[in-house]
């Protein structure tokens, strides 16, 4: 459905995207995961025909993003990273406007957006600028869906949205996927990666790895420890200064730590930390998550 071949794009002095290639299958929920500046937005804008790539070729449903840009603009729904609806129009006016722009009406495609729109319908006469973050996202999604797109491109839809709304949002995406819509979504949140069918881990304009979230984790071969003590800040400094430590990152209430050459035992960390007078110390083996995979890839 989406095909990207050797796409590169640079701005004046920054190379935003370097030689990226991947395919997204029809009906797939595909995630672009990576921190700010990874090139996610640039890649999406190229696909949305809003930017022209320097090199490479990309097609959306077989249409070339440069030559057939008009056709693509008819079949794709797009939600940019910033909230891009008219703040001085009401919820209903926004929705009606985007419906007419895409030569359709709200009632014609109401089925598709009903589940989402029904939650903001009580506020349909409120100005869009006065909605909460979660409601803005729902409205933006409704507007992006109003013309029954075949492909949905969402640029960091859950950034700046509370945890509950995020969860709801992903449930909505799952439902849309069941209706056969191909979805390309980007996010800086690692925990959302597991909700995608496949993900591309991106950093500094490059794709580090593409696979299903589960396979990515399964292929993680490092030995990982979770460590906790009473003084977390000193703990991370101490561990990073330890010559047998490879990486140490904070994840929630634990530090995820790998040792050099993966043969460092849990007891070695424990002894080292006890010598440093850490109290309430816990050290145990840990199952890796997608974050650990990402951190590991970033190291290389």
């Amino acid at each position: 459905m989406i095909s990207i071949q050797h796409i590169s794009k640079s701005y004046k002095d920054v190379q935003a995207v370097r030689d990226i290639s991947f395919e997204v299958q029809k009906g797939e929920l595909f995630g672009l995961i990576g921190p700010d500046g990874a090139g996610k937005t640039t890649l999406m804008r190229i696909l949305m025909t809003l930017l022209i790539q320097d090199e490479g070729k990309a097609t959306m449903n077989g249409f070339d993003v440069i030559k057939d840009y008009k056709k693509i603009r008819n079949i794709v729904g797009y939600m940019p990273g910033r909230f891009s609806l008219y703040q001085d129009l009401t919820v209903e006016e926004n929705l009606n406007f985007f419906a007419t722009v895409f030569k359709t009406t709200v009632s014609e495609n109401y089925d598709l957006i009903r589940d989402i729109y029904i939650q903001i319908e009580p506020f349909k006469n409120r100005l869009a600028g006065k909605l909460s973050g979660g409601m803005k996202q729902k409205l933006a999604l409704s507007c992006a869906l109003i013309h029954k797109p075949e492909i949905l491109v969402l640029d960091e839809p859950t950034t700046g949205v509370d945890a509950v709304s995020r969860k709801e949002f992903w449930e909505m995406l799952k439902k849309l996927q069941e209706k056969g819509i191909t979805i390309l979504v980007s996010t800086p949140y690692m925990d959302e990666a597991t909700l995608c069918n496949r993900v591309a881990l991106m950093q500094k304009g490059k794709v580090l790895n593409i696979d299903t979230p589960r396979k990515l984790v399964e292929n993680y071969s490092r030995k990982l420890y979770a460590i906790k003590s009473k003084e977390m800040h000193r703990l991370i400094l101490d561990l990073r200064s330890y010559d047998k430590t490879d990486t140490a990152y904070a994840f929630g209430e634990y530090l995820h730590v790998t040792g050099k050459n993966d043969e460092v035992e849990a007891s070695e960390f424990e002894n080292f930390l006890l010598k440093k007078n850490h109290t309430k110390l816990q050290v145990f083996d840990n199952e890796p998550g997608i974050e650990d995979v990402f951190m590991d890839l970033m190291q290389e």
Binding site: R45, M48, L50, L51, K70, S84, Y86, F97, T100
Partner: protein, 369 residues
């Protein structure tokens, strides 16, 4: 078409929901016209003068009362012979001193010749010139009509002056066309450029571009509301000019509105052109205000005559659209001339409109960069 109407609807909602836009569109024209027409008037009224009458006879008294009843002057001070004239000026009490020579009536009757001196405070040269002109006009008018009717002077040349098309030399005749040019330029160019660059700034342009809307639909959708509003503005200014300030429309009203329409179209296309260059609202406003407003006021012949400008500025003034529009309205409103006499200026405006439209279309981006 439905797409376009939907877009128009949205534009009108933007305009009517934003109080600042409404003030700019409907408040500024009226306030500005009133300001220029009533307050910042270059007409002289009730200027304070002093009289130094060394003769105190019948005629000097009559001339004095003529001066004071003209409405242009009021008596600030009566000076006695020998008093220091300069100190009166220094104190700033009066703008002009009228001095009659001794034995004024006697000299006038006997020789047909007498001395009046007009001393004006030329620290403000414009006012000084206007005051002395008025005063000498009133004095010679009186002498000619009242005293010299029966005296035949040999070989005298009578210079008769008439100010055609504006007999009263009212400055509002000059301001109405100027204000109209300025307001239409401001509203049309600034508002369109701001409203397009606002979409860029708020990121909504990204969504519009990613939609099947054609660039021409976006541009026309942006322009049409302001075309209507500016046209209403042009009408308001003309009506205010006619009914409040008594400016005549001697020529064809429809020609006047037609030319205004052309000018608005030109200003709108200039606004679009600005928006294709300006990345955000601030820059758009800056270009419109500094690049359009100031030259319009200073260089278009609105206030300062173009003939008096140095050559480089005269050349610059030719590329300012209001310069041509002001000539057109003055011709239609004050002189009552038809299209035959203003076709050149009209052609210039048409040419400018096409140039701006062509440049805008060339510059309008169907993508983000």
């Amino acid at each position: 078409m439905k797409q376009f109407i939907g877009f128009l609807r949205k534009e009108f909602l933007h305009i009517f929901r934003d109080p600042r836009t409404m003030i700019i569109i409907f408040g500024i024209p009226v306030v500005q016209l009133m300001l220029f027409g009533k307050v910042i008037s270059t007409d002289i009224q009730n200027a304070k003068i002093a009289i130094l009458d060394q003769s105190h006879d019948n005629i000097t008294r009559k001339i004095t009362s003529k001066l004071l009843s003209s409405g242009y002057f009021v008596l600030g001070e009566e000076l006695l012979p020998g008093e220091d004239v300069e100190s009166v000026f220094r104190q700033g009490k009066v703008k002009m001193v009228v001095t009659f020579g001794p034995e004024f009536e006697y000299n006038l009757e006997r020789d047909g010749k007498a001395d009046v001196q007009l001393l004006a405070d030329a620290s403000d040269p414009n006012t000084a010139r206007i005051l002395t002109n008025y005063a000498s006009g009133i004095i010679s008018d009186y002498v000619k009509k009242e005293k010299l009717q029966n005296i035949q002077l040999p070989d005298q040349i009578n210079v008769e002056v008439r100010m055609l098309y504006n007999e009263g030399l009212k400055s509002v005749y000059m301001f109405v066309p100027g204000i109209m040019a300025m307001i239409l330029m401001l509203i049309s160019s600034m508002m369109t450029s701001i409203s397009i660059s606002k979409e860029k700034e708020l990121g909504t342009m990204e969504v519009l571009l990613a939609s099947p809307l054609k660039p021409i639909q976006i541009v026309l959708g942006k322009v049409t509301p302001y075309l209507l509003l500016s046209f209403i503005n042009a009408l308001t200014i003309i009506l205010l000019g006619v009914f409040v300030f008594g400016v005549p429309i001697k020529g064809s009203f429809f020609l006047l509105m037609g030319e205004s329409f052309l000018f608005i179209l030109m200003a709108l296309s200039l606004g679009i052109l600005i928006s294709t260059v300006a990345p955000n609202q601030m820059v758009a406003m800056f270009i419109s205000l500094l690049g359009l407003m100031l030259p319009t006021i200073l260089l278009s012949g609105f206030i300062f005559p173009i003939q008096n400008m140095p050559l480089p500025l005269r050349i610059v003034s030719n590329i300012l659209p209001p310069r041509w529009f002001i000539v057109i309205i003055r011709n239609i409103m004050l002189k009552g001339t038809g299209i035959m006499y203003i076709w050149k200026e009209t052609m210039v405006l048409i040419f400018m409109s096409f140039t701006f439209i062509a440049l805008s279309i060339k510059n309008f981006k169907i993508r983000l960069e």
